[in-house]
Amino acid sequence: MAIFLQSLLSGILVGGVYALIGIGLTIIFGVMRVINFAHGDLLMLGMYVTWGLFALFNIDPYLSLLITAPVLFLWGVLLQKVFINRVLNALPQNQILLTIGMGLVMSNAIMLAFTSDYRILTTSYTSSAFQVFGLSVSQPLLYSFLITVAITGALFWFLQNTDTGQAIRATAQDRDAAQLMGINVKRMSVLAFGLGTAMAGIAGALLAPTYYIFPQVGGPFTLKAFVVVVLGGMGSIVGATLGGILIGVTESLSAVYVASGLKELVVYVLFLLILLFRPAGLLGKSRT
C-alpha cells in the first residue's frame, strides 16, 4: 500500500509538469489549429536557458523562471511571425513538417553549441525530501508542482477574465467569427504561440533540477505532450491539466507494477486506445 501511495504521489507531482507542457501545446493548437512538433525542443531551450543562468550566474532555477519565461515568450513570438504565420492556411502535413524542421534546427543548433554531453543542474535541495505521513516527497518535484499549480491558475484566470484572454478564447472557438467581431486574430495567434512557448519553457525550467539536460531531450516530451493533450481533448486547458496528471500517474504506476522500461510503452498504448475509442478526449468537444 505504501508503495502504491508513494508512486501515486510522485506520479501526481510529475504529472503537474506534464500538464504544463500539454497546456502550452493545446493553446497553440486551439488558436491556430497547428500541431507543434517542436514543442519538446522549446522545452529543451527552456532547460538550457535555466542551466545557463545557473552555471554562469548561479541563479536558482526556480528564480530564473522570471527570465526564462519572458525569453521563451519572445522566442515564440519570433517563430510565429517568421515561420508559423506563413503556413496557417497550408496543408496540415506541411505545418507538421515545418515544425519538425524547426525542432531539428533548434536541437541540433544547441548540440553544435553545447555538444551532446548530459548536463546536470545540482542545487542544494536536488536530492532532499520532506517526510509526510511516512511518504517521502521530493523537494524539487514539490516546488515544481506548486509553481505549476500557480501558473496554471494564473493562466486560467487570464483567459477567463481579461479582454485579451477572452479574445484568445474567441479566436480558438471560431477564427472567422472572431475576426468579424473586430478581434485582431493575427495578434492573438502571435500571443498564443508566445504563451505556448513560454509554458514549454517554464516546464523545461521546472524539470531542469531533476532531469538530465541534453539537446535531444525534447523528442519524448513532444510525444508526451500530444498524449496529454489528446487525452484531455484538443484545445481544452482543463482537459490538458487532467490529462497531464493522469499520464504522470499512469507512468509512475506502470513503472512499479509493469516494468520501468515499459512505462512509456504503456502510455503510448493508452494513447492509441483513447484515439480509437474516445477521440474527442476526456473533456474535448467532438473533433472535426
Binding site: 500541431i35 515561420f83 506563413r86 503556413v87 497550408a90 496543408l91 496540415p92 502535413q93 506541411n94 507538421i96 513538417l97 515545418l98 519538425i100 524542421g101 524547426m102 525542432g103 531539428l104 534546427v105 533548434m106 541540433n108 543548433a109 548540440m111 553544435l112 551532446s116 523528442g219 510525444l223 500530444f226 498524449v227 489528446v230 516494468a259 522500461g261 515499459l262 512509456e264 510503452l265 503510448y268 498504448v269 494513447f271 492509441l272 484515439l275 480509437l276 477521440p279 473533433r287
Partner: protein
C-alpha cells in the same frame, strides 16, 4: 490471337523514350564499379540507393495515398531485425531472410493499418508515430528476443552459390548491385502505382477521401493495400541496410529519425512523383555524407587531401548534417512546397513560355502593316 495482342498492349502512361532513358540510366549507373572501386565513392552510391528505396516505398502510402505516416521506422526496423535474427541465430541466408522480413512487415502493416487508418490527418500522424515508438520500446525491453540496447552484430554473410556463379559478400561491390536492384524495383513499382487502376484509387483517396468513398472505393481497404506495398519494400531496404552496416540496435532500426528521414526525402524531392524520392535521396545523402565524412570528396577528386575545407568540415560540421536537414525542410515547406522537382518544373515552364513568347513580337508589325 487478338485477345493475346490486346493483353500485350502497352500499359497506360507508357512512353518508349522515357523507358529507354530509364534503362540507359540504370545501365550507366551499373557500370560505375567498373571505373571506380574507391570504397567511399561506392558507399555514397549504396546510401543513395537505399535512400531511394526507402523514400519511394514511403511515397506509395505517403505521396500517392496521402497518408503521412511518420512511423515507417516500424517496417524498416522489423525488416532489419527479421533478417539479422534469422541469419545470426538460425543461420538462414539473407536472400530468404529478406523475403521473410518483407512478409513480416506486411503482417505488421495489416495490424498497424487496421488501427491507425481509423484516424485521419494529424491524428493519424500521431498514431503512426506512437506505433513505431511502442515497437522501439518493446525491442529495447524484451532482451531475450532482440538483445535489447546491446544490438545485433553480424559476423558474416554466407556466399550466395548458384549453378552459374558464386557471390561473396565481401567489400562494397555486391551491396552496390543489390541495393541498385532494390532501388530499380521500387522505382518500377512506383511507376505501376502511378499508372494503374490501383494507383488511381490511392490518388483519389489522397485528393478527397469522402468523394472517393462515395464513388465506391473502399478507403480503408485501399489505404491498407498501399501501406502493405510500402511496408514490404521499406522492410527490404531495412534488411539490406542492416546487412550492409552489419550492426543494428533498437534506436538505429526503429528510431523516429528513420521515419522522419523517409518523409524528408519525399518532401525535399517532390512528394507523390516517381522522380521526387530519387532527387530527394541524392540531395539528402550528398549533404549528410559530405558533412559526416568529407573524405569521399577527396576520393572523388573534387578536393585535395590537404584541402582546408575537409579539415574544417571534419572539425566543425561533422555533427551538423541534421541541422542542415532541418533548415532544408523549413526552406522547402515555406518556399517550395512541391520540392526540388516542383521548382525545376516551374523553371522549365517559365523558360518554355519565354521561348514561345519570343518569336511573336517581330511578326506583329508585319501583320499590322
Amino acid at each position: 490471337m487478338s485477345s493475346l495482342l490486346r493483353s500485350l498492349r502497352t500499359p497506360r502512361g507508357f512512353s518508349a523514350p522515357a523507358f529507354l532513358a530509364y534503362l540507359a540510366v540504370i545501365g550507366l549507373v551499373a557500370l560505375v564499379p567498373q571505373f571506380s572501386r574507391k570504397p567511399l565513392i561506392l558507399h555514397m552510391w549504396i546510401m543513395v540507393f537505399l535512400a531511394i528505396a526507402q523514400g519511394s516505398a514511403w511515397n506509395i502510402v505517403g505521396g500517392y495515398a496521402g497518408q503521412y505516416s511518420v512511423g515507417h521506422a516500424a517496417y524498416f526496423g522489423i525488416g532489419a531485425y527479421t533478417t539479422m535474427l534469422l541469419l545470426e541465430l538460425h543461420q538462414i541466408a539473407p536472400w530468404y531472410g529478406i523475403g521473410l522480413s518483407m512478409l513480416n512487415a506486411v503482417l505488421l502493416s495489416v495490424v498497424i493499418g487496421s488501427i491507425t487508418f481509423r484516424l485521419r490527418g494529424p491524428y493519424f500522424v500521431l498514431a503512426s508515430i506512437s506505433m513505431a515508438e511502442i515497437i522501439r520500446l518493446a525491442a529495447l525491453h524484451f532482451k531475450d528476443l532482440t538483445r535489447g540496447a546491446e544490438g545485433i552484430l553480424l559476423n558474416g554473410i554466407p556466399p550466395l552459390e548458384t549453378p552459374w556463379f558464386t557471390v561473396k559478400f565481401l567489400g562494397k561491390v555486391p551491396f552496390f548491385y543489390t541495393s541498385l536492384g532494390l532501388a530499380v524495383i521500387v522505382i518500377s513499382v512506383t511507376w505501376f502505382v502511378q499508372h494503374s487502376k490501383l494507383g488511381y484509387t490511392f490518388q483519389a483517396i489522397r485528393e478527397d477521401q469522402d468523394a472517393a468513398h462515395s464513388l465506391g472505393i473502399n478507403p480503408t481497404l485501399h489505404k491498407n493495400l498501399a501501406l502493405m506495398l510500402s511496408a514490404a519494400f521499406t522492410a527490404a531496404a531495412g534488411s539490406l541496410f542492416a546487412l550492409y552496416v552489419r550492426f543494428i540496435d533498437p534506436n538505429i532500426a526503429f528510431g523516429i529519425d528513420v521515419s522522419v528521414q523517409m518523409v524528408l526525402i519525399c518532401i525535399i524531392g517532390g512528394i507523390g512523383t516517381i522522380l521526387g524520392p530519387v532527387v530527394g535521396s541524392v540531395v539528402l545523402v550528398l549533404l549528410s555524407e559530405s558533412l559526416r565524412n568529407p573524405k569521399w570528396l577527396v576520393q572523388a577528386g573534387l578536393l585535395a587531401d590537404s584541402s582546408p575545407t575537409v579539415a574544417f568540415i571534419e572539425a566543425r560540421l561533422s555533427n551538423a548534417h541534421v541541422l542542415f536537414y532541418g533548415v532544408l525542410v523549413v526552406v522547402v515547406v515555406l518556399f517550395a512546397p512541391e520540392g526540388f522537382l516542383g521548382l525545376l518544373r516551374t523553371a522549365v515552364a517559365r523558360v518554355k513560355k519565354r521561348l514561345a513568347a519570343k518569336p511573336t513580337p517581330p511578326s506583329q508589325p508585319a501583320a499590322a502593316a
